[in-house]
Structure formats: structure tokens, C-alpha cells
Amino acid sequence: MALTYDEVIARYDPVLGLEVHVELNTESKMFCSCSTIFGAEPNTQTCPVCLALPGALPVVNEKAIESTIKIGLALNCSIAPYSRFARKNYFYPDMPKNFQISQYDEPICFDGYVDVEIDTDEGPKQFRIEVERVHMEEDTGKSLHVGGATGRIHGADYSLLDYNRAGIPLVEIVTKIVPGTGKYAPEVAKAYVAELRDILRGLKVSDVKMEQGSLRCDANVSLMPKGSDVLGTRSETKNVNSLRSVERAIRGEMLRHSEILETGGKVKQETRHFQEDTGLTRSGRSKEQAEDYRYFPDPDLVPVTPPATWIEELRATLPERPSLRRKRIKEEWNVPDKEMAAMINADVLDIVEATVLLGADPTKARTWWLGEISRIANDTSVAIADLAITPAHVAELINLVASGELTDKLARQVVEGVIGGEGTPSEVVAKRGIKVVNDDGALMAAIEKVCAEQAETAEKVRSGHLPAAGALIGAVMKETKGQADAAKVRELLLKHLGQ
């Protein structure tokens, strides 16, 4: 019998384990000098090394080591003064050497942690996710299975191999088991991956695009009956390629496990694949018999021995930790909790900060990005970052409003124009001829009075007979004792009459 989520939580404690793979954004591959640019023609970014031609040898990309150490430091890890690469042996067509160079019992970074904060029923609460290890490895190539119904290898007519991705540097970040998250397990996992993504983005070591696979999460979940201290059998869900999917996958697996356990079944230790459309997972290869990868130190490579001075140099270059940065921003800008959460959820913190750094008022900057611009992004299903509007544009817009050249209402039209590719705010204003109506009370009162008195003439103008306006302008000038700017009066009058 299927339990509700609340029932699951009442009977079981979920235990999480998260493995995140990050593609580094180095210019060249992990062990050769081939380019890493995404999306090139198949097999154009290959060489004897990454194709595993006989005799070819790997040489470590120093930049990848640097990036990995930075990641380790940002995750509060210790950095090993000596670590080695190992070979993970298994046969698969898209892995040219039929072993993957990885790190096994000697990872370069170990014993770190990441703190994440989530909203709970009792208010914001911090959870510490302990990081077991951060290690380097190389990516595999890609197989494209042609024919057959599923795009999977079984049933395919033939398969095509693209080795462009083979050898791209990957960093794997593995947590220790994460107990004690209770009903917040899915949110904690999501917050952890989000925090990792922000940290990695801040370090500028990866594109961290989940949808392109440069950040991939494998979520391990098991359930432990309340009061027990024996860990349950875990499943490992792969292919979780968005933050929302992390949350859904874990929630889904908790429900699936509980259903098995409630009916007296046993959870299979296996790899499962998350399916974006249904939010469910399907069974992958079974891990009941652990595969024997015959790890051994790679004799083609020398140990990685980063000097302590170098590690300290790298530590000094670390940017502000995202969680601390958020705290600082919240205080400096005096942002209410809800608004802060909204900014984080909408992923606009960077862009708002960039706008503020250009001199804009923080509240106004936030309002623009979270309000009108987010709305357009949602309506058009385009990521905010991909819209044609920049922090500089918004800062300029805020200036134009502050100086009275635009009202908020008109500014929204300008935003539309900028996003529509019409240029900077000033250019849009000029092109569209947008200007603030001078709502000088006296002037408008005079115009309204004159139009009422000479309703017939006003009607002529309204219907398009512009020369008739002259009489009205004269009357307004008289009404205002000649102190008004005739040009302005003409403009306002015509606008008032819909011309």
C-alpha cells in the first residue's frame, strides 16, 4: 500500500548520499591538448592520446589540478600533499582505453563540508553536508544508438561513437552519508547542489550547466526505519539534470522505497535513471554483484604533489563563499527574508549585484530583475541571463526614472524595447519617442479648461485637424499668462487630444 510522503517520514528516516560530477572548463582535456569546446563535429577534437592509439601516453593538465584544488579548498577540504591517479578497468566502447583514469584510494581533496540553509516549519535552518572526497577523473566519449525504439544499446541497429568528450576533465565530489534531514531530505539535497553550483560558478572552474551535463548529480537514497541504526539498501539515481529534478528524484525514491519496504520487499541496490517527464526513476544496471574495476595506480602518471605554498596561493584567490555573500548582501541591502529567497530562487543575485555595482539602488535593481524582467523571462521561457537586457541597461533605466525622464510605467515599455533588441534604454527612448508627460498641474488644468470651453475646436483637433490647435494653444498661453513653454503646451495639448 502506497504511503503518503508524511507517512513515509513518520515511519522512516531517509539517508542521502550525493555524488556530483563537474566538467571543468579548462581549454584542453585532462590528459592531452585537445580542445574541450562543447558541440563540435563528432570526433574532430581527438588525438592519439584521447583515442587511445597504441603507444600514446597521458600527461596531466596542470590547470585541471589547480581547479580541483580550488574546489577542494572552497569545500573546506584538506588537500593531499601526495595523491595518485588510478585506472578503473572496465570495457565499454565509448571509453577508448577501456579503463578510466580516475583517483581511487588517494583522492586529491578529502574531509570537507558545505553548509546549506533551508526554510523549515521552524524557520531557516542550517544543515551541514560533509564532503568525503573530491577527486579528478576523465570523461568518456558518447555513444549514439541508432535504431530500436528506446535509444538504448539493446535493440539498436548500430551505434555511433563520438570521442570529443573522451578525456574532458571531470571532478567528482562525493558526500559522506547525510542522515538527519528527515522530511527536508529533498530540499536539503537541492540546496546542496545549488550551493555547490554557486561555489563552482564563483570559482569560475566550470560552466555548471546542468542541462548541458557540465554538472551532473547522482543521488543515493536509502530509508532506515525509525529507531533503527542499520542503514537501508540504497539506490543510486543518475541523469538528474536540474535542481528541481534533484528534489523530485529523492522524494520519488523515498516513496518508491517505502512502498517496497511496507509490502515486506527488499530494495535492490541498483542504478536507476531519472525520467524528467514522469518524475519517476527506471531501473538501470543492477549493482547486486559489485563490479570489480581492478583499480591500480596508473603507471603512466606520476603522483600529484602540490607544494604547500601553491595551495596557500590558491586559497588566497578564493572568492567569497556564496552563503556568506548572501548574508552580507541581505544585510547591506536590507532585504526582507522573502525577497532574499525569491532572488535566490530566481537565480538573479549575481545580476542584481552587478546592477548595484553600477550605481543602482539595490531595492530598485532587485525590483526590476525580480519583477518585470522575470515576468518577461517566464512568459517567453528564456532564462533571465539569456535575455538581451544587461545590468548596465537596468542601471541606466533606474537613472532615467530617478531623473524624471521616465515614469515607472514608461520604463516598462523601455524594458520591453531593450529585451526586444532595440538597443540601450536611451536608444529605445529616442527611437520610440517615449517621454514623460509634463504633469505640471497648472499647465494641464489650463489645457483641460480651454478644451472644455472650446469643445468644438478641441474635437476638430482630436479628429486630426491639427491647424485648429493653434487657437487652443493661444488660449492656454493666455490662461497661463504667457509663462508656459509654447512648444511644451503644444505637445501636451496634442497628446491630451490623442494626437
Binding site: L51, G55, F296
Partner: protein, 499 residues
């Protein structure tokens, strides 16, 4: 002119007495006339060699600065990748493969104007001690065509001893240069591990493999050694330091005041009487030249063979995984919708010979979880002990010596079905590989019982390769004068040739 030494040929070339084209053609003619009996070559690159020779002649005519052995022909072990020239490592699984790149050794040879005549036969993937494990049939010892030339670099050794080439490149993982040099009456050197780049050397056992030179004299060998040694950024295990001056050492043979250590464990039981008597005579000769002979104890050497036959197969089981029919080489069983796995299995079954399969299976087993510590782990510990034994011994002696091989050349087929007997032939050469140091074999005379060449092995610490040449040159000079000419001149004439 083919009976000259490489140094003499180089002199004649430099003084323009002969051209490289003439010299190359003379060797090609020799190959034509005797190689049907010797079968040293798997592939003779006539056109390529003559073109290279012509280019060197042109450079010389233009007054360009050339290397000491520019224009001298050479035989290349088929384990080294040469762009556009069939490279098989003696295996059917690579039949017809033409590398799209040059190994670093080949680049250096080409840069030095050394003319590459062709690719020589070898035990498949360098696994063997007799060249009988070649996928293309055995090579025959020019001293007695019913016997093996040793191995795995048997083709290269036979080419030099049959005057098909004055110089050759081999590779030495457990003695594969020194042992065939001993069995064919020539000089062979395994340089210090990391002194010669392994880039483009088809890997058997990465931590033990090292390419090195063959010549008919110590000086010739040094001239070739100098050309191929040096740091290479494409090989992470390559040593980045100034290489020892081996040529000067070879020109200044001298043992006065040197301590020469005889390794207790590498003599006596299991060694042919004729081998021991030539070895002891050589020691007497060295003593008469002013060296002090001391005995050293290396107790761990008793386990060297066992350690070697765990480490080398372990590494090869992983190194040879890349031969999977996906990207190059043989492909069989690819029909009727066979899966990739089935094609890999069928190809590896058809393409690999028995000895290769035996070692892959051994290594796969030794690396398996549960056995790793007992086998691979223990073997690595023995390796450390052997390194310590050497360190201690080199504290007592400048160089260490032993017979190169326990026996002279044996009959084709004699040990082919008894792997243990074959493996025992490497007992004296393997410790050098396990310790990563350097070793030379040079002729010590003919054994009384069979009139076949005996090899004398000299070992020196890592990056002290010049000591091999200094001692080797002194011994060579004394022995040659005693014999009234180089040992090789005593080899019987081959049917197809003048000698």
C-alpha cells in the same frame, strides 16, 4: 661496407667517401639476401629508407650541421609507432595498422638523420624471451639458424648480428634488449627508466618498459643511446635532467680503481658452465685492468622473477584492453547484429596469441579485489626491497655485474611449451627493470660446449648510464684484443651473404 661499425660508417659518410643512399642500399641488399633465413624484419621500408637517406645526403651536400650518426641505417623494433609505416608489436590484432603519428624515439631518429630500414620482429607485445611468440613466426639466430636469437627484441638483435643493420632499437621490460644481445653476440643497453621517452612505444608494462640501443660495439651503442635519450613532455615518467655523457664514457673506457660488485644471487646454480667460465674470465680481465672485484648480497633478488610475473601481467591486462576492434586493428565477428561486447571478445580471441592471453588472464586475476594485496601489493613490496638491495650494493660498488642470461641461445621450440623454463631465462635481467636502473650486455666470448655467444651484464644506478659504457668499453677493448677481433667476426657465414 656493411661489416663496418656504425662509427666507421659515420666517419665515411662525414668524409663523403660513401653516401647514405649507397650505405642504405647496401643494407637493403643484405636484407634481401639473408633475411629469408633470419627473418629479422616484419616490414622493410625500402622507399622510405632511401628517401630518408637521400635527404641526409642532400643536407650534407648543403653543408648542414648533422648528428654524429646521420645517414647510418637502423632497424626499429615493431613496438614503436612510425607514422605511415605498418606497426604491429608482433601481434595479429594490429595487422595492417599504420600509425598516424611518430613515437618520440622515431622523431628523434628522424631529426638526427638516422635512416630507418624497417620494423623488426618481436615476441607479441614484447611478451617472451625467444621471439617465438610473434604472431608472424619466429626470428632465427644468425649464429645458428636452428636457435632463437632471444627476445623479445630478437628481430633487432638478429638484424644487427647478421649485418642487416649496424644499429637497432629494442625495448627492454624484463631483459628484452640485454638477453637477445647476449644470445647474438652484440651490445645492448637498457637505459635508466625515464631516460628514453615511452611516447609511441606500444605498452606492455608501463612501469618497466624502456626503449634502448643495440650495436656491434660499445661506442656504436653509445652513439645511438645519445640520439634517443632526453626529456619528453609527452611522457609524464620521462626524467627532466641532463642526460649522462655516454659517448665520452664509451670513448674513454677505464676501470682503474673502480669497484665492481658481483651479485651473489646471480651466478652458480642454474647457469650453464660455459656461461660461468666466460663470465669469470671477464672478471679476471677487469681485475687485470685495475678494477677491484667485490661480492655483494642482494637477497631479495630471489623473489624478483615472481614479482615481475605479477607486475608485468597486471599492467599488461590493463594496457592491452584498448585492443577492442572499435577504432583500429583487427575486427572479427562483426556480423548478424553481433553486440559490441561479442565483437570485442571475438577479436581479442582471434588477435591475441597464447602467451599474451596467458599474461592478461594472470594480470586480471592478480588485480582482482580480494587478491590485489596478496599478489600485486606483495609484488610492489618486493620491488621496494629490490631497490633497497641495489642501493646497498651500489654503496659497495660502482657497478654490479652478472652473466646476462643463464644459458646461450636455445633451440627453436625447445622451451616454447614450458613457460616457466622460458621465464627463468630472465632471472638475471629482471631486477634492473624492477628497480628502474640501467644495464648493458656485451659479448664475453663463446661458450666452450656449444660455441655460442655469452653475454656479460653490467648494471649501474639510475642516471649513471655512463658507467656502463666506461666499464663496457674497457672490457670490450681488452677482450677484443685477446680474441684478435670482435666476437661477431667469428659468427658463421649466412648462406645468402658473403660471410
Amino acid at each position: 661496407m656493411i661489416y663496418q661499425n656504425a662509427a666507421e660508417m659515420a666517419k665515411a659518410l662525414a668524409s663523403k667517401e660513401i653516401s647514405s643512399v649507397e650505405l642504405t642500399q647496401a643494407h637493403l641488399d643484405r636484407i634481401d639476401s639473408v633475411d629469408s633465413d633470419v627473418k629479422a624484419f616484419l616490414h622493410v621500408d625500402k622507399e622510405g629508407a632511401l628517401a630518408q637517406a637521400a635527404a641526409v645526403d642532400a643536407d650534407r651536400a648543403a653543408g648542414k650541421n648533422l648528428s654524429a650518426i646521420a645517414g647510418v641505417p637502423l632497424a626499429l623494433k615493431d613496438v614503436l609507432a612510425q607514422r605511415g609505416v605498418p606497426t604491429t608489436a608482433g601481434s595479429k590484432i594490429l595487422q595492417g595498422w599504420k600509425p598516424p603519428y611518430d613515437s618520440t624515439v622515431v622523431s628523434k631518429l628522424k631529426d638526427s638523420g638516422v635512416v630507418i630500414l624497417g620494423k623488426t620482429n618481436m615476441d607479441e607485445f614484447a611478451m617472451g624471451s625467444s621471439t617465438e611468440n610473434s604472431g608472424y613466426g619466429p626470428t632465427f639466430n644468425p649464429w645458428d639458424l636452428t636457435r632463437t636469437p632471444g627476445g623479445s627484441s630478437g628481430g633487432s638483435a638478429a638484424a644487427v648480428s647478421s649485418f642487416e643493420a649496424p644499429l637497432a632499437i629494442g625495448s627492454d621490460t624484463g631483459g628484452s634488449i640485454r638477453q637477445p644481445a647476449a644470445l647474438t653476440g652484440i651490445v645492448g643497453v637498457r637505459p635508466t627508466y625515464g631516460a628514453v621517452s615511452r611516447y609511441g612505444l606500444i605498452a606492455y608494462s608501463s612501469s618497466l618498459d624502456q626503449a634502448g640501443p643495440f650495436g656491434r660495439t660499445v661506442l656504436d651503442t653509445a652513439l645511438l643511446h645519445e640520439v634517443i635519450a632526453g626529456h619528453d613532455v609527452k611522457d609524464a615518467t620521462s626524467i627532466n635532467a641532463k642526460m649522462p655523457d655516454v659517448v665520452s664514457a664509451a670513448k674513454n673506457g677505464d676501470v682503474k680503481g673502480l669497484k665492481i660488485g658481483v651479485i651473489k644471487q646471480l651466478q652458480g646454480e642454474g647457469y650453464q658452465a660455459g656461461v660461468l667460465s666466460r663470465f669469470n674470465e671477464s672478471l679476471d680481465t677487469l681485475a687485470s685492468l685495475g678494477a677491484e672485484i667485490v661480492e655483494v648480497d642482494c637477497p631479495s633478488f630471489d623473489y624478483a622473477l615472481a614479482a615481475y610475473y605479477l607486475i608485468a601481467p597486471s599492467e599488461c591486462s590493463s594496457n592491452l584492453a584498448r585492443f577492442d576492434a572499435m577504432r583500429y586493428g583487427l575486427r572479427t565477428g562483426d556480423s548478424d547484429g553481433a553486440s559490441a561486447e561479442a565483437v570485442m571478445a571475438a577479436t581479442r580471441d582471434a588477435g591475441f596469441g597464447r602467451e599474451v592471453k596467458r599474461r592478461i588472464i594472470l594480470g586480471t586475476y592478480a588485480l582482482s579485489s580480494g587478491y590485489y594485496d596478496a599478489y600485486y601489493g606483495s609484488a610492489q613490496k618486493i620491488r621496494t626491497l629490490i631497490i633497497q638491495d641495489y642501493a646497498k650494493a651500489f654503496g659497495l660498488a660502482d657497478v654490479l655485474v652478472s652473466p646476462t642470461a643463464p644459458t646461450t641461445a636455445y633451440k627453436i621450440g625447445e622451451k616454447v611449451d614450458d613457460p616457466m623454463a622460458m621465464y627463468l631465462g630472465d632471472v638475471a635481467t629482471i631486477p634492473v627493470n624492477l628497480a628502474g636502473i640501467c644495464g648493458m650486455s656485451l659479448p664475453a666470448g663463446l661458450a666452450d660446449e656449444d660455441n655460442l655467444p655469452v653475454g656479460f651484464q653490467i648494471m649501474a644506478p639510475a642516471m649513471q648510464d655512463q658507467r656502463l659504457y666506461q666499464v663496457g668499453a674497457a672490457l670490450e677493448a681488452a677482450l677484443t684484443s685477446k680474441w684478435g677481433g670482435a666476437l661477431i667476426t667469428k659468427a658463421p657465414a649466412l648462406a645468402g651473404g658473403a660471410r
